[in-house]
Protein backbone atom coordinates (compact mmCIF):
# COMPACT_ATOMS: atom_id res chain seq x y z
CA UNK A 1 0.00 0.00 0.00
CA UNK A 2 1.55 3.26 -1.11
CA UNK A 3 2.03 5.89 1.51
CA UNK A 4 2.84 9.42 0.65
CA UNK A 5 5.75 10.76 2.65
CA UNK A 6 5.40 14.30 3.89
CA UNK A 7 8.29 16.15 5.40
CA UNK A 8 7.17 17.28 8.83
CA UNK A 9 7.13 21.00 9.42
CA UNK A 10 10.04 22.26 11.44
CA UNK A 11 8.76 25.75 11.98
CA UNK A 12 5.36 27.24 12.66
CA UNK A 13 5.19 29.04 9.37
CA UNK A 14 6.91 31.95 7.67
CA UNK A 15 6.37 35.08 9.71
CA UNK A 16 4.60 33.29 12.54
CA UNK A 17 6.43 35.13 15.27
CA UNK A 18 6.11 38.60 13.74
CA UNK A 19 2.38 37.99 13.33
CA UNK A 20 2.17 36.82 16.93
CA UNK A 21 3.99 39.96 18.03
CA UNK A 22 1.55 41.99 15.98
CA UNK A 23 -1.37 40.29 17.70
CA UNK A 24 0.16 41.00 21.10
CA UNK A 25 0.73 44.64 20.30
CA UNK A 26 -2.68 45.28 18.77
CA UNK A 27 -4.40 43.41 21.60
CA UNK A 28 -2.45 45.33 24.19
CA UNK A 29 -3.43 48.62 22.63
CA UNK A 30 -7.09 47.66 22.33
CA UNK A 31 -7.14 46.28 25.86
CA UNK A 32 -5.48 49.39 27.21
CA UNK A 33 -8.01 51.71 25.60
CA UNK A 34 -10.87 49.52 26.72
CA UNK A 35 -9.70 49.30 30.31
CA UNK A 36 -9.09 53.01 30.60
CA UNK A 37 -12.16 54.18 28.75
CA UNK A 38 -14.24 56.45 30.93
CA UNK A 39 -17.41 55.54 29.10
CA UNK A 40 -16.89 52.03 27.74
CA UNK A 41 -20.58 51.66 26.93
CA UNK A 42 -20.72 55.12 25.40
CA UNK A 43 -23.05 56.60 27.99
CA UNK A 44 -22.15 58.38 31.17
CA UNK A 45 -22.54 56.38 34.36
CA UNK A 46 -25.09 58.59 36.07
CA UNK A 47 -25.52 56.71 39.30
CA UNK A 48 -25.04 53.46 41.19
CA UNK A 49 -24.78 50.72 40.04
CA UNK A 50 -23.51 51.94 36.66
CA UNK A 51 -19.81 52.14 37.60
CA UNK A 52 -19.78 48.49 38.64
CA UNK A 53 -21.40 47.44 35.37
CA UNK A 54 -18.96 49.57 33.41
CA UNK A 55 -16.01 47.99 35.24
CA UNK A 56 -17.19 44.53 34.19
CA UNK A 57 -17.79 45.73 30.66
CA UNK A 58 -14.25 47.09 30.43
CA UNK A 59 -12.73 43.86 31.67
CA UNK A 60 -14.82 41.64 29.42
CA UNK A 61 -14.21 44.02 26.54
CA UNK A 62 -10.46 43.79 26.97
CA UNK A 63 -10.51 39.99 27.16
CA UNK A 64 -12.87 39.78 24.22
CA UNK A 65 -10.68 42.04 22.12
CA UNK A 66 -7.69 39.80 22.77
CA UNK A 67 -9.56 36.62 21.86
CA UNK A 68 -11.08 38.21 18.77
CA UNK A 69 -7.66 39.34 17.60
CA UNK A 70 -6.12 35.92 18.16
CA UNK A 71 -8.81 34.16 16.17
CA UNK A 72 -9.19 36.68 13.37
CA UNK A 73 -5.57 37.56 12.75
CA UNK A 74 -4.19 34.04 12.98
CA UNK A 75 -7.01 32.76 10.75
CA UNK A 76 -6.25 35.34 8.09
CA UNK A 77 -2.53 34.71 8.46
CA UNK A 78 -2.87 30.92 8.15
CA UNK A 79 -5.19 31.39 5.21
CA UNK A 80 -2.63 33.45 3.34
CA UNK A 81 0.58 31.71 4.31
CA UNK A 82 -0.65 28.16 3.94
CA UNK A 83 -2.43 28.63 0.65
CA UNK A 84 -1.55 25.95 -1.82
CA UNK A 85 1.83 26.68 -3.29
CA UNK A 86 1.79 27.61 -6.97
CA UNK A 87 4.19 24.81 -7.84
CA UNK A 88 2.36 22.15 -5.84
CA UNK A 89 1.09 19.32 -7.98
CA UNK A 90 -2.34 17.70 -7.76
CA UNK A 91 -1.03 15.44 -5.00
CA UNK A 92 -0.50 18.25 -2.52
CA UNK A 93 -1.31 17.57 1.08
CA UNK A 94 -0.73 19.46 4.27
CA UNK A 95 1.00 18.44 7.48
CA UNK A 96 -0.55 15.19 8.64
CA UNK A 97 -1.05 15.95 12.32
CA UNK A 98 -4.14 14.92 14.26
CA UNK A 99 -3.53 16.53 17.55
CA UNK A 100 -0.93 18.10 19.79
CA UNK A 101 -1.80 17.22 23.37
CA UNK A 102 0.28 19.91 25.02
CA UNK A 103 -1.15 22.65 22.83
CA UNK A 104 -4.67 21.35 23.31
CA UNK A 105 -4.15 21.20 27.04
CA UNK A 106 -3.19 24.86 27.12
CA UNK A 107 -5.92 26.03 24.84
CA UNK A 108 -8.41 24.26 27.09
CA UNK A 109 -6.80 25.29 30.36
CA UNK A 110 -6.35 28.96 29.59
CA UNK A 111 -9.93 29.56 28.43
CA UNK A 112 -11.15 27.56 31.42
CA UNK A 113 -9.15 29.75 33.75
CA UNK A 114 -10.42 32.84 31.94
CA UNK A 115 -13.99 31.61 32.28
CA UNK A 116 -13.45 30.98 36.00
CA UNK A 117 -11.95 34.43 36.49
CA UNK A 118 -14.72 36.10 34.51
CA UNK A 119 -17.37 34.11 36.35
CA UNK A 120 -15.95 35.11 39.69
CA UNK A 121 -15.62 38.75 38.71
CA UNK A 122 -19.12 38.78 37.22
CA UNK A 123 -20.46 37.26 40.43
CA UNK A 124 -18.72 39.93 42.45
CA UNK A 125 -20.21 42.70 40.33
CA UNK A 126 -23.58 40.94 40.50
CA UNK A 127 -23.39 40.93 44.29
CA UNK A 128 -22.44 44.60 44.27
CA UNK A 129 -25.53 45.34 42.22
CA UNK A 130 -27.78 43.22 44.42
CA UNK A 131 -26.38 45.12 47.40
CA UNK A 132 -26.95 48.52 45.85
CA UNK A 133 -28.49 50.62 48.51
CA UNK A 134 -32.07 51.65 48.34
CA UNK A 135 -34.98 52.37 50.62
CA UNK A 136 -34.18 55.93 51.58
CA UNK A 137 -36.78 56.74 48.95
CA UNK A 138 -39.16 54.16 47.56
CA UNK A 139 -41.24 54.74 44.47
CA UNK A 140 -43.49 52.52 42.44
CA UNK A 141 -43.53 52.47 38.67
CA UNK A 142 -46.62 51.12 37.00
CA UNK A 143 -46.75 50.63 33.28
CA UNK A 144 -49.65 50.31 30.93
CA UNK A 145 -50.19 50.36 27.20
CA UNK A 146 -48.37 52.75 26.51
CA UNK A 147 -46.94 54.78 29.32
CA UNK A 148 -45.71 54.91 32.87
CA UNK A 149 -47.11 56.21 36.12
CA UNK A 150 -45.12 56.74 39.28
CA UNK A 151 -46.33 56.62 42.81
CA UNK A 152 -44.47 58.32 45.60
CA UNK A 153 -44.99 57.83 49.31
CA UNK A 154 -47.35 60.39 50.77
CA UNK A 155 -48.56 61.50 47.37
CA UNK A 156 -52.18 60.69 46.82
CA UNK A 157 -52.15 60.88 43.08
CA UNK A 158 -49.72 59.10 40.80
CA UNK A 159 -47.36 61.18 38.71
CA UNK A 160 -47.84 60.69 34.98
CA UNK A 161 -44.98 62.69 33.61
CA UNK A 162 -41.33 62.20 34.23
CA UNK A 163 -39.87 60.30 37.13
CA UNK A 164 -38.16 62.78 39.43
CA UNK A 165 -35.47 61.50 41.73
CA UNK A 166 -33.26 63.38 44.17
CA UNK A 167 -29.50 63.30 43.81
CA UNK A 168 -27.41 60.98 45.97
CA UNK A 169 -30.46 59.33 47.49
CA UNK A 170 -30.55 55.52 47.57
CA UNK A 171 -33.83 54.77 45.89
CA UNK A 172 -35.87 51.62 45.55
CA UNK A 173 -38.13 51.35 42.54
CA UNK A 174 -40.85 48.70 42.57
CA UNK A 175 -42.13 48.01 39.09
CA UNK A 176 -45.19 46.27 37.79
CA UNK A 177 -47.72 46.51 35.01
CA UNK A 178 -51.45 46.89 34.65
CA UNK A 179 -51.78 44.88 31.49
CA UNK A 180 -48.95 43.22 29.55
CA UNK A 181 -45.23 42.86 30.18
CA UNK A 182 -43.36 46.12 29.68
CA UNK A 183 -39.73 47.00 30.26
CA UNK A 184 -38.15 49.60 32.52
CA UNK A 185 -34.66 50.49 31.34
CA UNK A 186 -32.60 53.45 32.44
CA UNK A 187 -29.51 53.18 30.20
CA UNK A 188 -27.45 55.78 32.06
CA UNK A 189 -27.97 53.81 35.26
CA UNK A 190 -27.47 50.41 33.58
CA UNK A 191 -30.54 49.01 35.30
CA UNK A 192 -33.44 47.19 33.79
CA UNK A 193 -36.37 45.14 34.99
CA UNK A 194 -39.36 43.66 33.24
CA UNK A 195 -42.65 45.06 34.44
CA UNK A 196 -44.76 41.96 34.72
CA UNK A 197 -48.47 42.07 35.58
CA UNK A 198 -49.10 40.13 38.74
CA UNK A 199 -45.49 40.50 39.92
CA UNK A 200 -43.51 43.22 41.58
CA UNK A 201 -39.87 43.48 40.53
CA UNK A 202 -37.45 45.67 42.39
CA UNK A 203 -34.62 47.92 41.26
CA UNK A 204 -32.26 49.93 43.38
CA UNK A 205 -30.40 53.01 42.18
CA UNK A 206 -28.59 56.01 43.60
CA UNK A 207 -28.40 58.80 41.02
CA UNK A 208 -25.13 60.71 41.28
CA UNK A 209 -25.20 63.00 38.24
CA UNK A 210 -28.01 65.47 37.83
CA UNK A 211 -29.61 65.51 34.43
CA UNK A 212 -32.34 64.20 32.25
CA UNK A 213 -32.21 60.61 31.06
CA UNK A 214 -34.51 58.39 29.03
CA UNK A 215 -36.50 55.55 30.54
CA UNK A 216 -37.23 53.06 27.80
CA UNK A 217 -39.59 50.14 27.34
CA UNK A 218 -37.62 47.06 26.30
CA UNK A 219 -40.27 44.35 26.16
CA UNK A 220 -42.60 44.26 23.22
CA UNK A 221 -45.98 45.42 24.45
CA UNK A 222 -48.08 46.21 21.40
CA UNK A 223 -48.33 48.82 18.68
CA UNK A 224 -47.15 51.59 20.95
CA UNK A 225 -43.99 49.84 22.03
CA UNK A 226 -41.63 51.84 19.83
CA UNK A 227 -42.86 55.11 21.24
CA UNK A 228 -43.08 54.00 24.85
CA UNK A 229 -40.58 56.06 26.76
CA UNK A 230 -40.49 58.49 29.55
CA UNK A 231 -37.86 60.55 31.28
CA UNK A 232 -35.89 60.41 34.48
CA UNK A 233 -35.11 63.82 35.94
CA UNK A 234 -32.38 63.75 38.57
CA UNK A 235 -32.39 66.93 40.63
CA UNK A 236 -30.70 68.27 43.71
CA UNK A 237 -32.48 67.29 46.86
CA UNK A 238 -33.70 70.85 47.26
CA UNK A 239 -35.15 71.04 43.77
CA UNK A 240 -36.69 67.66 44.25
CA UNK A 241 -38.29 68.80 47.49
CA UNK A 242 -39.77 71.80 45.70
CA UNK A 243 -41.15 69.63 42.91
CA UNK A 244 -42.53 67.16 45.41
CA UNK A 245 -44.29 69.87 47.34
CA UNK A 246 -45.84 71.14 44.13
CA UNK A 247 -47.32 67.69 43.57
CA UNK A 248 -49.12 67.96 46.90
CA UNK A 249 -46.73 65.87 48.92
CA UNK A 250 -47.22 66.20 52.66
CA UNK A 251 -45.53 64.88 55.76
CA UNK A 252 -48.56 63.47 57.48
CA UNK A 253 -49.04 59.83 56.79
CA UNK A 254 -52.40 58.99 55.42
CA UNK A 255 -53.07 62.68 54.77
CA UNK A 256 -53.20 62.32 51.06
CA UNK A 257 -55.82 59.65 51.17
CA UNK A 258 -58.68 62.05 51.05
CA UNK A 259 -62.09 60.78 51.68
CA UNK A 260 -62.60 57.28 50.42
CA UNK A 261 -66.33 56.65 50.65
CA UNK A 262 -66.75 53.67 52.96
CA UNK A 263 -70.48 53.65 53.58
CA UNK A 264 -71.29 51.33 50.70
CA UNK A 265 -68.85 48.59 51.64
CA UNK A 266 -70.28 45.06 51.96
CA UNK A 267 -68.82 42.35 54.13
CA UNK A 268 -69.28 39.46 51.70
CA UNK A 269 -67.60 41.26 48.83
CA UNK A 270 -64.81 42.24 51.18
CA UNK A 271 -64.36 38.65 52.30
CA UNK A 272 -64.03 37.47 48.70
CA UNK A 273 -61.59 40.22 47.89
CA UNK A 274 -59.57 39.50 51.02
CA UNK A 275 -59.13 35.92 49.84
CA UNK A 276 -58.00 36.99 46.42
CA UNK A 277 -55.74 39.91 47.25
CA UNK A 278 -54.73 39.92 50.90
CA UNK A 279 -54.64 36.36 52.14
CA UNK A 280 -51.26 35.72 50.56
CA UNK A 281 -49.68 37.97 53.20
CA UNK A 282 -52.28 38.51 55.92
CA UNK A 283 -54.22 36.11 58.06
CA UNK A 284 -57.52 36.90 59.75
CA UNK A 285 -56.09 35.93 63.12
CA UNK A 286 -54.54 38.13 65.79
CA UNK A 287 -51.71 40.55 65.00
CA UNK A 288 -49.03 38.06 65.91
CA UNK A 289 -50.30 35.47 63.45
CA UNK A 290 -48.13 36.78 60.63
CA UNK A 291 -47.78 35.37 57.16
CA UNK A 292 -45.86 38.28 55.72
CA UNK A 293 -47.74 41.17 57.27
CA UNK A 294 -49.57 41.10 60.59
CA UNK A 295 -52.85 39.31 61.15
CA UNK A 296 -55.77 41.65 60.62
CA UNK A 297 -58.50 39.90 62.59
CA UNK A 298 -58.49 42.46 65.41
CA UNK A 299 -57.29 45.51 63.56
CA UNK A 300 -60.00 47.79 64.94
CA UNK A 301 -60.01 46.26 68.39
CA UNK A 302 -56.55 45.33 69.58
CA UNK A 303 -55.45 46.55 73.04
CA UNK A 304 -51.90 45.39 72.34
CA UNK A 305 -51.66 47.61 69.26
CA UNK A 306 -53.26 50.99 69.86
CA UNK A 307 -51.99 52.44 66.62
CA UNK A 308 -51.80 51.11 63.08
CA UNK A 309 -48.38 50.22 61.72
CA UNK A 310 -47.94 53.69 60.22
CA UNK A 311 -48.67 55.42 63.51
CA UNK A 312 -52.21 56.53 62.74
CA UNK A 313 -55.30 55.64 64.70
CA UNK A 314 -57.19 52.46 63.88
CA UNK A 315 -60.11 54.20 62.27
CA UNK A 316 -61.79 52.93 59.11
CA UNK A 317 -60.54 55.93 57.13
CA UNK A 318 -56.95 55.40 58.25
CA UNK A 319 -57.13 51.70 57.45
CA UNK A 320 -58.53 52.66 54.07
CA UNK A 321 -55.58 54.98 53.52
CA UNK A 322 -53.06 52.24 54.20
CA UNK A 323 -54.74 49.99 51.69
CA UNK A 324 -54.82 52.88 49.24
CA UNK A 325 -51.23 53.98 49.58
CA UNK A 326 -49.48 50.82 50.55
CA UNK A 327 -46.91 50.70 53.27
CA UNK A 328 -43.16 50.18 53.59
CA UNK A 329 -41.92 48.83 56.85
CA UNK A 330 -39.40 46.51 58.43
CA UNK A 331 -41.42 43.52 57.42
CA UNK A 332 -41.53 44.43 53.79
CA UNK A 333 -43.57 46.35 51.30
CA UNK A 334 -47.31 46.23 51.06
CA UNK A 335 -48.31 47.21 47.57
CA UNK A 336 -50.61 50.14 47.03
CA UNK A 337 -54.15 49.78 45.83
CA UNK A 338 -53.10 50.67 42.34
CA UNK A 339 -50.53 47.90 42.24
CA UNK A 340 -53.10 45.48 43.54
CA UNK A 341 -55.72 46.74 41.09
CA UNK A 342 -58.09 47.59 43.92
CA UNK A 343 -60.65 50.31 43.44
CA UNK A 344 -62.06 52.61 46.07
CA UNK A 345 -65.21 50.48 46.12
CA UNK A 346 -63.01 47.46 46.81
CA UNK A 347 -61.36 49.30 49.68
CA UNK A 348 -64.76 50.06 51.15
CA UNK A 349 -65.67 46.38 50.99
CA UNK A 350 -62.40 45.33 52.59
CA UNK A 351 -62.80 47.81 55.44
CA UNK A 352 -66.31 46.54 56.02
CA UNK A 353 -65.06 42.97 56.16
CA UNK A 354 -62.21 43.81 58.52
CA UNK A 355 -64.66 45.67 60.72
CA UNK A 356 -66.86 42.57 60.83
CA UNK A 357 -63.87 40.48 61.96
CA UNK A 358 -62.93 42.88 64.72
CA UNK A 359 -66.41 42.73 66.17
CA UNK A 360 -66.01 39.09 67.16
Amino acid sequence: MAQRVVKPRTNLGPGFWPVTAFIVVVSAIMAYFTLTSPWPIGLIPAGEPAPATDALFRFLGAVGAVIFNIVTIYTIYFGIVFAKAKNAGPNDIGVQIHDAPVLEFWWTAIPTILVVVLAIYSTKIWLDIQNTQGDVLTVEAISYQYGYQFRYPRLAQPVSGALHLPLNTPTTIHVTSRDVIHGFWIPEMRIKADMVPGLINTLRVTPTVAGTYPIICTEFCGVGHGAMKTTLIVQSQQDFGKWFAQQGGSQRSGGGGGGIPLASGTVDAGKMLFGQKCSACHSTGPFTQKIVGPGLGQIFNDPAHAKLVNGTDPTPQDVANIVKNGFQGDIGTMPSAQMNAISNKDIANLVAYLASLSKK
Binding site: G198, D268, M272, G275
Partner: protein
Protein backbone atom coordinates in the same frame (compact mmCIF):
# COMPACT_ATOMS: atom_id res chain seq x y z
CA UNK B 1 -39.94 -7.64 -1.93
CA UNK B 2 -36.27 -7.05 -1.76
CA UNK B 3 -33.32 -8.21 -3.71
CA UNK B 4 -30.70 -9.67 -1.52
CA UNK B 5 -27.25 -9.27 -2.88
CA UNK B 6 -25.63 -11.15 -0.09
CA UNK B 7 -25.26 -14.10 -2.40
CA UNK B 8 -23.21 -12.15 -4.89
CA UNK B 9 -19.99 -12.97 -3.20
CA UNK B 10 -19.34 -10.10 -0.85
CA UNK B 11 -19.28 -11.77 2.45
CA UNK B 12 -18.19 -10.85 5.91
CA UNK B 13 -18.18 -14.37 7.03
CA UNK B 14 -21.73 -14.73 8.29
CA UNK B 15 -22.66 -17.61 6.12
CA UNK B 16 -24.79 -17.97 3.04
CA UNK B 17 -27.89 -19.42 4.57
CA UNK B 18 -30.93 -17.47 3.39
CA UNK B 19 -33.05 -18.09 6.49
CA UNK B 20 -30.35 -17.13 8.92
CA UNK B 21 -29.82 -14.00 6.88
CA UNK B 22 -33.51 -13.20 6.99
CA UNK B 23 -33.41 -13.73 10.73
CA UNK B 24 -30.51 -11.33 11.15
CA UNK B 25 -32.31 -8.73 9.08
CA UNK B 26 -35.50 -9.14 11.08
CA UNK B 27 -33.61 -8.86 14.34
CA UNK B 28 -31.79 -5.72 13.25
CA UNK B 29 -34.89 -3.96 11.95
CA UNK B 30 -36.69 -4.95 15.12
CA UNK B 31 -33.91 -3.43 17.21
CA UNK B 32 -34.10 -0.24 15.17
CA UNK B 33 -37.85 -0.01 15.50
CA UNK B 34 -37.65 -0.67 19.22
CA UNK B 35 -35.09 2.11 19.69
CA UNK B 36 -37.16 4.49 17.59
CA UNK B 37 -40.29 3.66 19.55
CA UNK B 38 -38.57 4.16 22.89
CA UNK B 39 -37.22 7.53 21.71
CA UNK B 40 -40.74 8.49 20.67
CA UNK B 41 -42.03 7.60 24.14
CA UNK B 42 -39.26 9.72 25.67
CA UNK B 43 -40.34 12.72 23.63
CA UNK B 44 -43.92 12.12 24.78
CA UNK B 45 -42.72 12.09 28.39
CA UNK B 46 -41.20 15.53 27.79
CA UNK B 47 -44.56 16.78 26.52
CA UNK B 48 -46.23 15.74 29.75
CA UNK B 49 -43.29 17.07 31.75
CA UNK B 50 -43.81 20.53 30.28
CA UNK B 51 -47.37 20.66 31.58
CA UNK B 52 -46.40 19.04 34.87
CA UNK B 53 -43.79 21.77 35.29
CA UNK B 54 -46.48 24.36 34.55
CA UNK B 55 -48.78 22.86 37.19
CA UNK B 56 -46.07 22.67 39.84
CA UNK B 57 -44.88 26.20 39.03
CA UNK B 58 -48.38 27.65 39.20
CA UNK B 59 -49.26 25.76 42.34
CA UNK B 60 -46.09 26.49 44.32
CA UNK B 61 -44.97 29.86 43.01
CA UNK B 62 -47.99 31.71 41.78
CA UNK B 63 -51.16 30.65 43.51
CA UNK B 64 -51.54 32.12 47.00
CA UNK B 65 -53.49 29.10 48.16
CA UNK B 66 -54.26 25.59 46.95
CA UNK B 67 -56.85 24.69 45.98
CA UNK B 68 -57.23 28.24 44.69
CA UNK B 69 -59.73 30.67 46.15
CA UNK B 70 -62.24 31.65 43.52
CA UNK B 71 -65.15 33.96 44.13
CA UNK B 72 -64.31 34.14 47.80
CA UNK B 73 -64.52 30.40 48.31
CA UNK B 74 -61.72 27.92 48.27
CA UNK B 75 -62.26 25.18 45.70
CA UNK B 76 -62.65 21.67 47.01
CA UNK B 77 -60.06 18.96 46.54
CA UNK B 78 -60.68 16.24 43.98
CA UNK B 79 -62.33 12.94 44.81
CA UNK B 80 -59.36 10.75 45.72
CA UNK B 81 -61.45 7.68 46.53
CA UNK B 82 -63.02 7.50 43.12
CA UNK B 83 -59.75 8.19 41.40
CA UNK B 84 -58.06 5.42 43.36
CA UNK B 85 -60.60 2.92 42.07
CA UNK B 86 -60.16 4.21 38.54
CA UNK B 87 -56.39 3.99 38.91
CA UNK B 88 -56.61 0.39 40.00
CA UNK B 89 -58.61 -0.27 36.84
CA UNK B 90 -55.90 1.30 34.71
CA UNK B 91 -53.00 -0.38 36.47
CA UNK B 92 -54.91 -3.63 36.26
CA UNK B 93 -55.08 -3.20 32.53
CA UNK B 94 -51.31 -2.89 32.54
CA UNK B 95 -51.04 -6.24 34.29
CA UNK B 96 -53.43 -7.87 31.84
CA UNK B 97 -51.51 -6.42 28.92
CA UNK B 98 -48.31 -7.91 30.28
CA UNK B 99 -49.95 -11.33 30.46
CA UNK B 100 -51.44 -10.92 27.00
CA UNK B 101 -47.97 -10.51 25.58
CA UNK B 102 -46.56 -13.36 27.64
CA UNK B 103 -49.31 -15.66 26.42
CA UNK B 104 -48.66 -14.65 22.85
CA UNK B 105 -44.94 -15.30 23.17
CA UNK B 106 -45.76 -18.83 24.27
CA UNK B 107 -48.28 -19.29 21.47
CA UNK B 108 -51.18 -19.54 23.91
CA UNK B 109 -53.70 -17.78 21.72
CA UNK B 110 -56.74 -18.27 23.92
CA UNK B 111 -54.94 -16.71 26.84
CA UNK B 112 -53.72 -13.91 24.60
CA UNK B 113 -57.20 -13.16 23.37
CA UNK B 114 -58.66 -13.21 26.87
CA UNK B 115 -56.07 -10.88 28.34
CA UNK B 116 -56.04 -8.60 25.32
CA UNK B 117 -59.80 -8.26 25.46
CA UNK B 118 -59.66 -7.63 29.20
CA UNK B 119 -57.02 -4.93 28.70
CA UNK B 120 -59.17 -3.13 26.20
CA UNK B 121 -62.23 -3.37 28.40
CA UNK B 122 -60.36 -2.07 31.45
CA UNK B 123 -58.84 0.77 29.41
CA UNK B 124 -62.29 1.74 28.20
CA UNK B 125 -63.62 1.56 31.75
CA UNK B 126 -60.88 3.95 32.82
CA UNK B 127 -61.96 6.40 30.13
CA UNK B 128 -65.57 6.15 31.24
CA UNK B 129 -64.41 6.72 34.81
CA UNK B 130 -62.59 9.84 33.71
CA UNK B 131 -65.72 11.03 32.02
CA UNK B 132 -67.58 10.59 35.28
CA UNK B 133 -64.82 12.43 37.16
CA UNK B 134 -64.97 15.31 34.70
CA UNK B 135 -68.73 15.59 34.99
CA UNK B 136 -68.67 15.64 38.77
CA UNK B 137 -65.55 17.65 39.56
CA UNK B 138 -66.37 20.82 41.43
CA UNK B 139 -63.23 22.73 40.59
CA UNK B 140 -64.73 25.38 38.41
CA UNK B 141 -64.33 23.99 34.95
CA UNK B 142 -61.53 23.95 32.43
CA UNK B 143 -61.25 27.68 31.85
CA UNK B 144 -62.30 28.98 35.23
CA UNK B 145 -59.05 28.93 37.12
CA UNK B 146 -55.58 27.40 37.09
CA UNK B 147 -56.69 24.30 38.99
CA UNK B 148 -59.12 23.37 36.27
CA UNK B 149 -56.71 24.49 33.61
CA UNK B 150 -53.90 22.24 34.78
CA UNK B 151 -56.06 19.30 35.90
CA UNK B 152 -58.28 19.04 32.85
CA UNK B 153 -55.49 19.75 30.40
CA UNK B 154 -53.07 17.21 31.88
CA UNK B 155 -55.60 14.47 32.51
CA UNK B 156 -57.23 15.32 29.19
CA UNK B 157 -53.94 14.81 27.36
CA UNK B 158 -53.48 11.58 29.27
CA UNK B 159 -57.01 10.50 28.44
CA UNK B 160 -56.35 11.26 24.79
CA UNK B 161 -53.29 9.02 24.97
CA UNK B 162 -55.36 6.27 26.61
CA UNK B 163 -58.00 6.58 23.92
CA UNK B 164 -55.37 6.42 21.20
CA UNK B 165 -53.90 3.43 23.02
CA UNK B 166 -57.24 1.61 23.06
CA UNK B 167 -57.57 2.17 19.32
CA UNK B 168 -53.98 1.03 18.84
CA UNK B 169 -54.58 -2.14 20.84
CA UNK B 170 -57.71 -2.89 18.85
CA UNK B 171 -55.74 -2.58 15.63
CA UNK B 172 -52.97 -4.81 17.01
CA UNK B 173 -55.52 -7.37 18.16
CA UNK B 174 -57.08 -7.39 14.72
CA UNK B 175 -53.69 -7.80 13.09
CA UNK B 176 -52.82 -10.65 15.47
CA UNK B 177 -56.05 -12.35 14.51
CA UNK B 178 -55.01 -12.10 10.84
CA UNK B 179 -51.76 -13.88 11.62
CA UNK B 180 -49.48 -10.88 11.08
CA UNK B 181 -47.50 -11.82 14.17
CA UNK B 182 -45.83 -15.11 15.02
CA UNK B 183 -44.39 -16.24 18.29
CA UNK B 184 -40.95 -15.27 17.01
CA UNK B 185 -41.94 -12.01 15.35
CA UNK B 186 -44.31 -9.85 17.31
CA UNK B 187 -42.69 -6.45 17.48
CA UNK B 188 -46.02 -4.63 17.03
CA UNK B 189 -47.33 -6.27 20.19
CA UNK B 190 -44.16 -5.33 22.08
CA UNK B 191 -44.61 -1.73 21.00
CA UNK B 192 -48.24 -1.77 22.05
CA UNK B 193 -47.34 -3.15 25.43
CA UNK B 194 -44.63 -0.55 25.93
CA UNK B 195 -47.04 2.22 24.99
CA UNK B 196 -49.65 0.89 27.37
CA UNK B 197 -47.14 0.76 30.24
CA UNK B 198 -46.03 4.30 29.37
CA UNK B 199 -49.63 5.48 29.74
CA UNK B 200 -49.72 3.77 33.16
CA UNK B 201 -46.49 5.41 34.31
CA UNK B 202 -47.76 8.85 33.32
CA UNK B 203 -50.91 8.17 35.31
CA UNK B 204 -48.86 7.30 38.40
CA UNK B 205 -47.36 10.75 38.18
CA UNK B 206 -50.65 12.52 37.56
CA UNK B 207 -52.43 10.63 40.32
CA UNK B 208 -49.77 11.65 42.79
CA UNK B 209 -49.68 15.26 41.64
CA UNK B 210 -53.43 15.91 41.64
CA UNK B 211 -54.92 13.53 44.19
CA UNK B 212 -52.28 12.81 46.77
CA UNK B 213 -50.32 16.04 46.89
Amino acid sequence: MSVSIAKQGYSLGHGHDEDAHEQVIYQETRDMRLLGFVLFLCSDVVLFSAFIFAYIYLRTTVAPAWPPIVGGHQLPRLDTAFATVNSVVLFGSGVTMHYALENFKHAKLRGFNAFMGLTIVLGTMFLLGQGYEYAHAQIGGWSGNIFGASFFTLTGMHGFHVFAGVVYLLVLWYQASRGVYTKERYFGLTAGTLYWHFVDVIWVGLFFLFYLW
